[in-house]
């Protein structure tokens, strides 16, 4: 199974002709990702890495039947691109772009929900179901097909963790970066609920960090409704505490957001929290076993 993406995903790359768009298109093609189309307004009819380019998402959907979008469009235009994808009927949208204004995301999240689409990100590394498909920017070679689900708010930190998982012989069913921005699409809980139903996922690695309350919500969900082993890691124990967010931000999270608080909340919910990133692979083996 795996979640959200597999070998049947037909992917469109929005912003395919840019430096990053074209580079990662090539990487994804190298992973046998089925990239059926690219979109770049004004460059319809051309090809990038052999992939046909369309001017609009509507055309890409009509001509190539794409059902997953991966977005590399720069921040000023990214919100428009996400909404274009949702409007064209694409139900899974993965936005890699970093630096989208928060108020744009307010409109985007509301719009995407109203169209019944799922948004991953923005500011995320994307999603990979090893051995099946990869829609994102993660270094592809270190992943290995297996039965551990990985969920993270971070990019490179996830690569480190996956690298170690593979080293100790724990393959992955699906690895998903939900994104590092204050406002994102899919949440930890949304992804956990999908992993819960996925027969090919046996255990979960959850990677969080300071700020917000995502981890706290996840802890509650895991305690009450989740039935597979979970190992968590929280980055940012040495982050300066005196440099805090504005008052109203603090009030919404009720003073929460520190790494220690998150670690304690997770532990109180009965979840093992890895203390040392250097040996997180070994710790995962302890918690999950060889399978």
């Amino acid at each position: 199974m795996s979640i959200l993406v597999d070998e049947n995903s037909r992917v469109v790359i929005q912003g395919i002709s840019g430096r990053r768009g074209s580079f990662h298109t090539k990487q994804m093609l190298g992973y046998n990702t089925n990239i059926a189309a690219g979109v770049r307004p004004g460059k319809g009819g051309q090809r990038v890495e052999g992939v046909p380019v369309f001017n609009t998402m509507v055309e890409a959907v009509q001509e190539e039947g794409v059902n997953v979008s991966c977005i590399f469009v720069p921040p000023p235009f990214a919100a428009d691109s996400i909404m274009e994808a949702a409007s064209a009927g694409v139900k899974l949208i993965i936005c890699i772009t970093e630096g989208i204004p928060v108020l744009d995301m307010v409109n985007v999240v509301s719009f995407v929900r109203s169209r019944g689409a799922i948004l991953i990100g923005p500011n995320c590394p994307g999603i990979i179901s090893p051995g099946k498909t990869m829609v994102g920017i993660m270094p592809r070679r270190m992943h290995r097909q297996g039965d551990i689900g990985v969920i993270s708010r971070s990019g490179t930190l996830t690569y480190e963790v996956v690298y170690q998982l593979t080293e100790v012989g724990l393959g992955q069913s699906t690895c998903i970066g939900i994104g590092g921005d204050p406002i994102i699409g899919i949440s930890f809980i949304d992804v956990l609920a999908m992993f819960k139903e996925d027969n090919e996922t046996r255990g979960i690695l959850l990677i969080g960090e300071i700020g917000g309350k995502e981890e706290e919500y996840a802890a509650k969900y895991i305690k009450e409704e989740f039935n597979k082993p979970v190992l968590a890691f929280i980055a940012g124990r040495t982050a300066p505490t005196n440099k805090r967010m504005g008052h109203a931000g603090a009030i919404i999270s009720r003073g929460m957001g520190k790494a220690e608080d998150k670690i304690k909340t997770l532990q109180d919910a009965g979840i093992t929290v890895a203390q040392d990133l250097c040996s997180i692979g070994k710790k995962a083996l302890e918690v999950m076993g060889h399978g």
């Binding site: 990487q27 921040p75 000023p76 970093e98 630096g99 204004p101 928060v102 108020l103 995301m105 307010v106 999240v109 509301s110 500011n123 590394p125 920017i137 993660m138 270094p139 270190m142 993270s152 708010r153 971070s154 990019g155 490179t156 930190l157 996830t158 690569y159 480190e160 690298y163 590092g180 921005d181 204050p182 406002i183 990677i207 960090e209 300071i210 700020g211 917000g212 309350k213 995502e214 980055a235 940012g236 124990r237 040495t238 982050a239 300066p240 005196n242 440099k243 967010m245 504005g246 008052h247 109203a248 931000g249 603090a250 009030i251 919404i252 003073g255 040392d276 990133l277 250097c278 040996s279």
Partner: protein, 402 residues
């Protein structure tokens, strides 16, 4: 790749307007604020106060630090001859609060304002609620104190309204907040606060704010509604379309290395440790700092060169770390994704050609184009230690500084 933590960190570097700047915006949007004048020399404070209604007058240090009142940054003066003395006690001095760190922040300007006789105080703010993905207005009949304290002690006195993205802020939402007040303010005051709430939302959208906070919002003895103290922060992701407001950024109070990093577009925070850290991605950067602490050393900085880093940004980030004299060793930890390891290697070499390095350097590379990156480093004549994994990198760094 950045992370939510990055937005946490960015809150350090994001654009915080000074009180006087925020009040100027309020004036433009028709929200009443006290009459006041900005003064940057104590000798001008007397003159300023004389042209403003008083006594009393209020002298307020223009710094980005909460709790400045407790640290002597706000003074109420009843005698015109003492205004200059109050300004003198602030300008050119450092204010140290629980939010500034031990070095404090330099006061270069004070705001001299008319004093206001307060009948009632409220709290009103707008910020983004992450979970609901909406701007959120928070209103409380308890104003003039830290809102976190109200939250803890009187959660029932925190009232919340969220505008719908489709409609924006609606007048009924202000009524929902105000008609719960006991006793009810005058009809005129209710009208005025209703107007202010709507204008706060307008400002929030117009300037891509991440926070607007009025604390306190007061009703005076004469029955006027005035925003007595105002904070505005701007989302720095929006800097590309808010050029005018980003020109208001006051560089004076900032750490010189952080300022330089900002100019380079690099996320850097200066800390007080001895191991310089250069990492791609905020999550991995934080985790790398945590590891350094675990080995017994202390990180000298947070530095995320970002997902879009190239040879040039790497080189510049490295340059900033080298300028920190407390740095006794440097750890470069790169897991290539968007950032390719070969570009990283070229960036490091470029920086080392321009600058002399006099501390040990440990490099750990993994991910996209790692072989090419390692090859470039191997073929250079520069000296550094290459770690095969994170554990070894941490160990090598600890050995260098112990």
């Amino acid at each position: 790749m950045s992370s939510q933590a990055l937005s946490f960190f960015r809150s350090v570097n994001k654009l915080n307007l000074h009180e006087y700047q925020a009040k100027n915006i309020f004036r433009q949007f028709g929200i009443p604020v006290p009459h006041g004048l900005l003064v940057n020399e104590p000798g001008r404070a007397f003159q300023a106060a004389r042209s403003i209604k008083g006594p009393p007058w209020v002298v307020k240090a223009q710094v980005h630090a909460g709790a400045r009142g407790k640290a002597g940054g706000v003074k109420i003066v009843n005698d015109l001859d003492v205004v200059e003395q109050a300004a003198q006690s602030m300008i050119g001095q450092r204010i140290i609060t629980n939010q500034t760190g031990p070095a404090g922040v330099m006061v270069n300007q004070v705001l001299v304002e008319e004093g206001v006789e307060i009948e009632r105080e409220f709290y009103l703010s707008m910020a983004i609620n992450r979970r609901n993905a909406r701007p959120t207005m928070i209103f409380s009949p308890v104003g003039g104190v830290e809102i976190e304290e109200v939250m803890l002690e009187y959660p029932d006195l925190i009232l919340i309204e969220r505008p719908d993205p489709v409609t924006g802020w609606m007048p009924f939402q202000a009524r929902n907040l105000l008609y719960r007040l006991d006793p009810l303010p005058s009809p005129e005051a209710i009208d005025n606060i209703t107007f202010i709430a709507a204008q706060v939302f307008e400002i929030f959208l117009r300037y891509d704010c991440s926070l607007i906070e009025i604390n306190p919002l007061v009703i005076t003895r004469e029955g006027k509604v005035i925003a007595l103290d105002v904070k505005i922060s701007i989302d720095d992701n929006a800097s590309f379309r808010q050029e005018k407001i980003f020109q208001l950024d006051d560089k004076a109070g900032k750490d010189p290395l952080e300022l330089q990093a900002e100019e380079y577009g690099i996320n850097y925070i200066h800390l007080d440790g001895n191991v310089g850290v250069l990492v791609n991605g905020a999550g991995l950067a934080m985790a790398t700092m945590d590891i350094i602490k675990q080995t017994g050393a202390r990180p000298a900085n947070f530095l995320d060169v970002g997902g879009g880093a190239n040879e040039e940004t790497i080189s510049r980030g490295f340059e900033i770390i080298l300028k920190d004299r407390h740095v006794k060793a440097i750890l470069i930890n790169i897991f290539g994704g968007i950032l390719r390891c070969d570009e990283l290697a070229k960036g490091v070499l470029a920086a080392l050609k321009r600058m002399e390095i006099h501390v040990p350097l440990v490099i750990r590379l993994q991910g996209t184009r790692v072989e090419e990156g390692r090859e470039i480093l191997k073929n250079s004549d520069l000296k550094f230690l290459v770690a095969k994994d994170l554990a070894e990198a941490a160990k090598l760094v600890a050995e260098q500084v112990s």
